[in-house]
């Protein structure tokens, strides 16, 4: 959990930087995209968001909301180029059975957008 709190703190700093440039001060809604193979899950990030609210993060208010879009992991086989949804981080190509598929989606957390005032 400390991991998500730190990560959320980093993301709020990135948003705060952008808001400052635009003369905005409070976030109304923050949108993230969380990969199923990222280090995190939506529940933990939502809790971290609430913790930052409770800790009075300068850009958050009681009304600030978090919206999370889940991105399914996708892998590409290094041999046959087949793209598939891997069951595990160690991706086995269902087409040719070769392990070591390269993850092409779902291993990151991105800040997509925000609405600010």
């Amino acid at each position: 959990m400390s991991h998500e709190v730190a990560l959320m703190g980093d993301m709020l700093n990135l948003v705060a930087e952008d808001m400052q440039k635009r003369g905005l001060s409070k976030v109304k809604k923050l949108k993230l995209r969380v990969g199923t193979f990222s280090h995190s899950v939506p529940d933990a990030l939502e809790m971290a968001f609430e913790i930052h609210k409770a800790m009075k993060a300068p850009i958050l208010t009681e009304e600030s909301t978090l919206e999370i879009e889940v991105e399914e992991a996708r892998a590409r086989c290094v041999i046959c180029g087949h793209e598939y949804v891997p069951d595990h981080r160690v991706a086995l190509c269902p087409n040719c059975g070769v392990p070591g598929g390269k993850l092409i989606a779902g291993d990151a957390i991105r800040i997509l957008s925000y609405e600010g005032v």
């Binding site: 952008d18 993230l32 957008s113």
Partner: protein
């Protein structure tokens, strides 16, 4: 109200700080190795022994990351290395900005080699670039060979696995061949060196790896 598209990786600010650290390390000519493992795998003991063995060849510094205490920094200082301790106060990994903050304590100009001993954890540290040149992971026999597949993200992002405590292999069900095979499956570019720091087994191979990466790096910079 307009929606403002930011489209930034959550780790963007860490990656920026890491790039800054990397520039500093290049500028001062310091090769940096990020050492990761679960708690108790033997990172500090490995570094103590390494400082003793290579202290004549390289000027070595160590940054220690722990949730609390100065114990580890004191241990490597006693072996003659420059050391800085980071206490993360509960955070489960080191971040590039934390490393940057303690660099003034180390005098980079007086170093050739810097080890960053990450917080003992097989999950979180793997996502954070600290500005290092190389990443290694210490895995120890009592943990079991299944850890490579159970914590794939760590082992996907490491270029060397030091399998420590092989002196206790007779007492555990650790399958070394399986560990080598699993590592090859998930990360074909990685390499495993079985060692025992305590029994001083096979440490020369680890020292040789350091010599090789150091030679390659200084040649590239020259």
């Amino acid at each position: 109200m307009a929606e403002i598209i930011l489209s930034q990786d959550a780790l963007a600010s860490n990656n920026r700080a890491a790039a800054h650290n990397r520039r500093l390390f290049e500028q001062y000519g310091v090769l940096v190795i990020n050492v990761m493992s679960s708690p108790g795998a033997g990172k500090t003991t490995l570094l103590e022994k390494t400082i003793e063995a290579l202290g004549d060849r390289y000027r070595i510094g160590v940054i220690q990351g722990d949730l609390a205490t100065q114990i580890d920094a004191d241990r490597v200082r006693a072996r003659g290395a420059r050391a800085a301790q980071i206490n993360t106060h509960g955070v489960c990994h080191l971040e590039a900005a934390m490393v940057n903050k303690v660099l003034p304590q180390l005098d980079l100009e007086a170093l050739d080699l810097l080890f960053i001993e990450n917080v003992g954890n097989l999950v979180c540290p793997s996502g954070y670039d600290l500005g290092e040149h190389h990443r290694i992971t210490v895995l120890s026999v009592p943990e079991g060979n299944d850890k490579i597949l159970k914590y794939p993200v760590m082992f996907l992002r490491t270029e060397l696995v030091l399998l420590n405590k092989i002196d206790v292999l007779p007492y555990f069900d650790f399958d070394v061949e399986q560990a080598i095979e699993d590592l090859r499956t998930i990360n074909p570019k990685s390499r495993l060196i079985p060692i025992s720091v305590k029994a001083e087994t096979n440490l020369d191979e680890w020292y040789r790896w350091i010599d090789e990466v150091y030679a390659r790096w200084s040649k590239a910079g020259a």
